[in-house]
Symmetry: C2
């Protein structure tokens, strides 16, 4: 192992996002990312398997956080409220990383392969949430529906958060999105 | 153009599904599909761009059907009821093709590249439905939510339809799934 580098992971992530936006994802090499971050290439590979994982390394962390939040949710919470509350808690953590999230989405939107990868991660997330609901005793189809609806609520709130002017609040947008789905399904 | 072959498209589709299940998708060639169907290879390429399109050619048709059904829906229908009704109407057409649908899902489930392709087609479908709702004057986020929730209802109903024993009725399962989402979001 090399010497400890302060915040190497964050510096590599920031350098990678800058280069992906400046040159395009395809045109950027790991060597360039490491150089921009002022770190050795081997340091990159201690943190990420490849240049794609810089963009998707957080997805596994988010999934673990959500599954754990669901496991801890009150027994009184309905499945969909429990899922939305888990996303709200995650939203609180994401809130301070809006600029990074915006850059990441711009890179993903520009590349078909990355858009596919994002869809796969989101499908895997919904599937993990459905499993976590089944662990709570929710029936099979209700678990799938609540997980899918909750994920849709999050995706739509996230997109608004990324695109709206000013300083939008992600947890607030998630609550709004949940309320809007409830109004829609109530026929209002 | 060659001579007209009765139901060439259906014969090619059936031959392809049989071979994908017997040998795997990767191991099957277009020449083998044409031979199994008793048709020339050039006939295959009059109907499908490649062997993957045999599995996804129907997705465009489904999307057009749903968008058109949404455009024709009563002004009184709520966005989510309009989406669910469009899927129900499509379900009536799909109902008689259950065995083909089962085979297709088995092939897709066995291949990561095909699973990705399926996710992309489903995302594109939800996006087209959201656009169709906006055309009806539904606000931006409500259109996205209703389209995503409606697509989730359909996916979950479709999965039950494929997997349940007996002769399950797809339109009925879609209605059940819609009612279940309504109950979930009403906190029941």
């Amino acid at each position: 192992m090399g010497r400890w580098e302060p915040n190497a992971r964050g510096r590599l992530e920031q350098a990678a996002l800058e280069l992906y936006i400046e040159r395009g994802f395809e045109q950027t090499t790991v060597a360039e990312i490491a150089k921009r971050a002022g770190l050795a290439e081997r340091t990159f590979f201690r943190h990420f398997a490849d240049k794609r994982e810089v963009l998707f390394g957080g997805a596994g962390t988010l999934q673990e956080f959500l599954v754990s939040a669901l496991a801890d949710a009150s027994d009184a919470a309905t499945p969909i409220d429990a899922v939305a509350a888990a996303f709200e808690a995650a939203g609180t953590l994401l809130q301070e990383r809006r600029e990074t999230a915006r850059q990441r989405q711009a890179v993903i939107a520009a590349n078909a392969e990355l858009r596919e990868r994002e869809l796969i991660k989101l499908a895997s997330l919904a599937s993990a949430l459905a499993d976590a609901l089944r662990q709570r005793g929710v029936t099979d189809s209700a678990a799938s529906l609540a997980a899918e609806a909750g994920s849709a609520i999050f995706r739509i709130a996230f997109e608004r958060w990324i695109n709206e002017a000013g300083q939008p609040d992600l947890p607030h947008l998630i609550r709004e999105s949940l309320d809007e789905l409830k109004a829609l399904t109530a026929g209002k």
